[in-house]
């Protein structure tokens, strides 16, 4: 079943000015249910824009986005939250620092639901949260009443991840969510990511700068460059690839951009 359908997505930033950027250039993409898609790309390739457009933080100039067959192209981010859960690159963005872990989890527990003036944060739900925190394996279950600000970046990212799956989302968006972490913590968060995606059979899209993660995680990888999807690698193909292949691919693109008819003519004359 198709989970996300994207057609003709185009987004131009700073239109008409000197630093005009075509962040998305007629992007078409179909993501099926239980796909775990990793997205890699050069800086400014539009991979983060793609994620933001899916999440609703950025409204595209052209194109259509459907989630579960429903068109959401112009819906703002909060209206899509009933389908989508997010983990941000910046560990500070995913949680409210001055509120307790329990309160943060409650906010996630209510994702996409109406918030009534009810006292839901009772002993029962706290014990449920405690069990969930225990699954992170970070000894956070004892710190339910601690404020988020006292946690390390990695712990916060782990909690954000837990918050994202607390109400099983239709789509999980991960925006370079380990980029700001040290390698050891990043590995831990990646392990949790894999675990949650597998346990909950999630449909996930992960933007990453790490070719390793792109290769290692998920069943499908797309490569983006200058707002376009330049390659779509299936799970079978991924098994054969190495990081060098990714690097070569990007190197190829870089060279391709430098090619002019003159240069080709010169190279030909020097070659044969």
């Amino acid at each position: 079943m198709t989970m996300i359908e994207i057609a003709g997505l185009t987004k131009l930033f700073n239109a008409g000015s000197l630093d005009e950027v075509l962040a998305l250039d007629d992007v078409c993409l179909e993501i099926r249910e239980h796909d775990f898609l990793t997205v890699i790309g050069t800086n400014g390739s539009g991979k983060s824009t793609l994620l933001n457009v899916i999440a609703g933080n950025i409204i595209p100039d052209k194109g259509i986005i459907r989630i579960k067959g429903k068109e959401v192209t112009r819906h703002p981010d909060f209206k899509r939250a009933k389908y989508i859960a997010r983990v941000f690159q910046n560990p500070f963005q995913g949680t409210a620092p001055d509120m307790t872990i329990a309160e943060n989890l409650l906010m996630a527990w209510l994702r996409g639901k109406h918030r009534w003036p009810l006292l839901s944060l009772n002993r029962k739900i706290k014990s449920f949260f405690r069990d969930q925190l225990a699954s992170l394996d970070m000894d956070l279950e004892k710190r339910l009443e601690n404020v988020m600000g006292t946690l390390s970046g990695g712990q916060r990212q782990a909690v954000t991840l837990l918050m994202a799956v607390l109400q099983t989302p239709d789509v999980l968006l991960l925006d370079e969510h380990t980029a700001a972490l040290d390698p050891k913590t990043a590995a831990q968060v990646i392990r949790l990511t894999r675990k949650f995606v597998e346990e909950h059979h999630l449909t996930a899209i992960m933007v990453t700068h790490s070719m390793n993660q792109a290769l290692e995680l998920g069943n499908r990888t797309i490569m983006m460059h200058h707002g376009r999807i330049i390659d779509d690698i299936s799970s079978e193909e991924k098994k054969k690839l190495t990081i060098d292949d990714f690097l070569n691919k990007f190197e190829d693109i870089r060279k391709q951009e430098k090619l002019t008819p003159e240069l080709i003519g010169r190279l030909k004359a020097l070659y044969c």
Binding site: D244, K255, L270, C272
Partner: protein, 403 residues
């Protein structure tokens, strides 16, 4: 630790002072690497002021000795303190090292520089090279296939030429190894033959250098789509060692053309790179792969067919290059013409090896050529453009009979 150097006859004395241990050994190694790269191959290590050396220092000394010995270099250890001597003894390395108690124990060899007596200096204005004339006869140029079919990817199975490695000593072309065409039809790639050894770089997605060392007993044929080859009778050898910016291959080979006698001559180069510009195929130009446009240089598919370096790449790599150079585009005989690209007047294929030390003695050219092919790890084989640069090395010149 502290390192001072001093010239003594054709040796360089390296005065070591202080501790050589895990902390200082990398600095020591770097210093020695720098000196050998500058051409100091005969070294005397003066230990008189060394107070302690750990096995980290020992490792550096063994490494230097090992790398200098094959290229005519020498390492002599002088005035060892007891601790260091004990270390060598315990490690069992003593027999392999030359240890003396003082300078008087070393027989200074001729003070003349390497090759000075047998070579002369040729000045080409912007640069100068050493030249050693040899007595090589003119060799017969062997031409295989037709390079013209390349641009249209039009080689049928029948165009595959099988050549025994014994037939020529040096050569280049588009070739593959194997017995069955169906087996290797998608493994053709830029190829260099050096000393009868075969190195090719298949035009596939993830290429690795494929090579076969020549032995007279197992004289497996090479399969060429096109190629050329010649015997190894050098009419002379250039040696060069530039400081600063080197002349590019175009300039260097123009200089070589002044000492060659045939209008198109063969060259074999061994050297250290200072930036290469190269091209190689990413797809095999056989008929099965032919694009609808019939032109692999068409703008929309060029990048799929050809890999190239937009700017000079590969620094300090050891390179073996073979190829044909024309003295004057006007004088190229008809049958050879298609083997020389329109521009640049030369067709060079090069093997890019890892970096390593080379001898600087002009007489060592052929032995070094054999050693590099045998001992060094090859990374790729490419078509070299005349704008590539070598900073030091040798060029062997072979006059050719073109008919």
């Amino acid at each position: 630790m502290n390192i001072q150097t001093e010239k003594w006859n054709n040796f360089l004395i390296i005065h070591l002072e202080g501790r050589i241990d895990g902390l200082t050994s990398t600095g020591f190694q770097r210093k020695v690497d720098q000196l050998t790269a500058e051409g100091h191959l005969k070294l005397i290590l003066d230990f008189s002021r060394v107070i302690f050396m750990s096995s980290a220092g020992l490792r550096v000394i063994i490494q230097i000795t090992r790398s200098l010995r094959p290229i005519g270099g020498e390492v002599i250890l002088m005035t060892l303190p007891d601790q260091v001597r004990e270390l060598f003894r315990v490690s069992g390395m003593e027999p392999f090292l030359k240890v003396v108690s003082g300078l008087e124990a070393i027989m200074p060899q001729s003070t003349s520089g390497p090759g000075e007596a047998i070579s002369s200096r040729l000045d080409f204005g912007e640069f100068a090279v050493d030249w050693m004339a040899l007595t090589g006869k003119t060799g017969q140029l062997l031409l295989l296939g037709d390079p013209d079919k390349l641009a249209s990817s039009a080689y049928p199975e029948g165009d595959c030429h099988r050549v025994k490695p014994s037939e020529f000593r040096f050569g280049a072309g588009l070739a593959a190894l194997g017995d069955d065409y169906n087996d290797f039809s998608n493994l053709f790639g830029e190829t260099v033959v050096t000393d009868h050894h075969f190195f090719s770089f298949p035009a596939v997605t993830r290429p690795g250098v494929d090579y076969a060392f020549y032995t007279a007993e197992a004289d497996h044929p090479f399969n060429f789509l096109y190629g050329f080859g010649f015997p190894g009778d050098f009419s002379g050898v250039f040696r060069f060692d530039f400081t600063g910016e080197s002349p590019d291959l175009g300039q260097l080979l123009k200089a070589a053309a002044t000492v060659a006698s045939s209008s198109v001559f063969g060259v074999v180069m061994l050297g250290v790179s200072q930036g290469l510009q190269w091209m190689h195929l990413k797809k095999v130009p056989v008929l099965e792969n032919q694009p609808p446009s019939g032109n692999i240089f068409a703008e929309d598919i060029f990048h799929a067919w050809m890999n190239f370096s937009p700017e000079r790449e590969e620094l300090n790599k050891t390179i073996i290059t073979t190829g044909l150079v024309s003295r004057d585009p006007e004088l190229i005989p008809e049958r050879v013409r298609s083997f020389i690209p329109e521009k640049g007047g030369m067709h060079l294929h090069g093997i890019v090896f890892e970096n390593g030390l080379l001898s600087r003695d002009i007489r060592d050219f052929e032995t070094e050529l054999a050693r590099v092919a045998r001992d060094f790890r090859a990374e790729k084989v490419v078509h070299l453009l005349p704008s590539s640069r070598l900073k030091s090395g040798f060029i062997g010149i072979i006059n050719l009979d073109l008919h």
